[in-house]
Point group: C2
Chain length 289, copies 2
């Protein structure tokens, strides 16, 4: 598995990828899932990859092969959209070559990519390319893409990232998101590749490989867990009361424990059942007592 995330905000782009690969739990290794196509002063394109490693490396190989001057490559594509199309075409080329054979071995054609960057004279852009070679672009309402094991790390991104979030805060968010993923999925692992692209710099200005020794990531890992437990502890526990003491509006939906009455799978209110307590509603003054 893999976790890669890229976010696009007003100040630039942030890319973060793990490096774990596995073919079963006893065949764990590491590979970099980030590739940087850079022409300082002209363009920085960053490609993140998830899926079958043989497939993603085959796509990467195609994208980096020498080409005649007149052929489009990631180094001369006039726009980010053209670059995304090139990645999609490379995926389709690998599909033509490998998919049938893989199917004989019941191996899915499984790969996906995030491509982001900036080409001189244009804005930063961010794309996600699917295994069918088609692609979508990130927008202001959803300024990020994830590939691989995305769910554990999604809630924090949804809560904190907006287009105006400062770039370093976006990097921090990516690392918190990665920390949640690392904690819950063994197939995502250190070291991490973090690239922070400052808009209009047109070269790589901030990059770091974070391993177990990295003190900033250690600090995030430790602090985030501690503070989560702290704020969890500060939220009041529920309190319980007899339904009769609960405000009317709440009581309406309160009384039906979904008891199964023998012989009738449709659960129904059972007035002969013993009394129980229900969640106390804080008194806000608008409820009737």
């Amino acid at each position: 598995m893999t976790y890669c995330v890229a976010m696009r905000v007003d100040e630039g782009l942030v890319f973060l990828s793990d490096t774990r690969t596995n073919a079963g739990v006893d065949h764990v290794s590491a590979a970099r899932k980030m590739a940087v196509f850079e022409q300082p002063g002209d363009r920085v394109l960053v490609l993140l990859a998830a899926g079958n490693l043989a497939l993603t490396q085959a796509v990467m190989q195609l994208l980096s092969e020498p080409a005649p001057e007149d052929k489009l490559t990631l180094y001369n594509a006039p726009s980010m959209a053209d670059a995304a199309r090139l990645v999609g075409e490379a995926v389709r080329e690998v599909h033509r070559r490998d998919a049938a054979t893989l199917a004989e071995f019941s191996v899915d054609f499984n790969c996906s990519f995030i491509l982001g960057g900036q080409i001189r004279g244009a804005n930063t852009r961010l794309f996600m390319i699917y295994s069918a070679g088609n692609f979508v672009e990130a927008s202001l309402v959803s300024p990020y893409f994830q590939i691989g094991e995305s769910k554990y790390g999604k809630p924090i991104i949804d809560r904190v990232i907006t287009p105006s979030t400062p770039l370093d805060e976006v990097a921090k968010c990516a690392l918190v998101s990665m920390d949640s993923t690392l904690r819950s999925n063994l197939s995502v692992g250190l070291p991490l590749d973090l690239l922070v692209y400052e808009k209009d710099s047109l070269q790589v200005t901030r990059f770091s490989t974070l391993d177990h020794d990295n003190q900033y990531f250690q600090m995030i890992h430790r602090t985030w867990g501690e503070r989560l437990r702290q704020i969890f502890g500060e939220i009041p526990n529920p309190t319980w009361a007899d339904p009769a003491n609960v405000p009317l509006r709440a009581r309406e939906t309160v009384s039906s424990v979904p008891r199964v009455v023998h012989g009738d799978a449709l659960t129904q209110p059972d007035t002969s059942a013993p009394p129980f307590q229900t969640l106390m509603q804080p008194d806000t003054g608008r409820s009737q007592q």
Copy 2:
């Protein structure tokens, strides 16, 4: 989709389920996914269901049908393990009846259950039953089960629940976990059924159906998001420095931006590339400058 979670701690059991069902985004409805088999003074068994609603209701129907006195049911099973076996047998019965026909329509035989509760004279127990009818039991090291859309809500449970967590705090954790899931997956929806079982009570003592009006859940929803953003803001942003100013240990893994050199897909250090900054490591005294 569905999200159901059940946790077993020293003080008892907590069950929480959503009620959304859907067959495509334009066919959204609600069904209760919790069923309570209660004989006050003798047993409380709670069953949570996820998967194809027709299948889970068929299983529920089998489990609630009248049976001859000498036949095992959830109402007379001598142990929770026997009860789990009964649920598994019901799943297999529905599989025998429906699976072949469903396969003709390319519908997966997809259902899973959580069964928890207590029978007089024994401890509380908690099981997860798979669509093959086999089952596993929760243990002290992993005192909870989730079915349905489980990933968004898993990190908070992993961080705060231990066997000694007080029951009301477990209920609060289940609701926070549900809140994260509701925020990220549209196919999980209110109202929620929350049942808190106090060990040795042998009857339902605390139950609540939480809908949009429920002020406790509203408070969790609002407070949790606010406090998350607050602690996120309090964690320091990364700071960046020239690699030459970064302590030696960090520098070792710092210098290799995974640049793709044209014609060579294997990324390699490019000493001619422009300089970039890397994550500053806080000085802990053990690094060499």
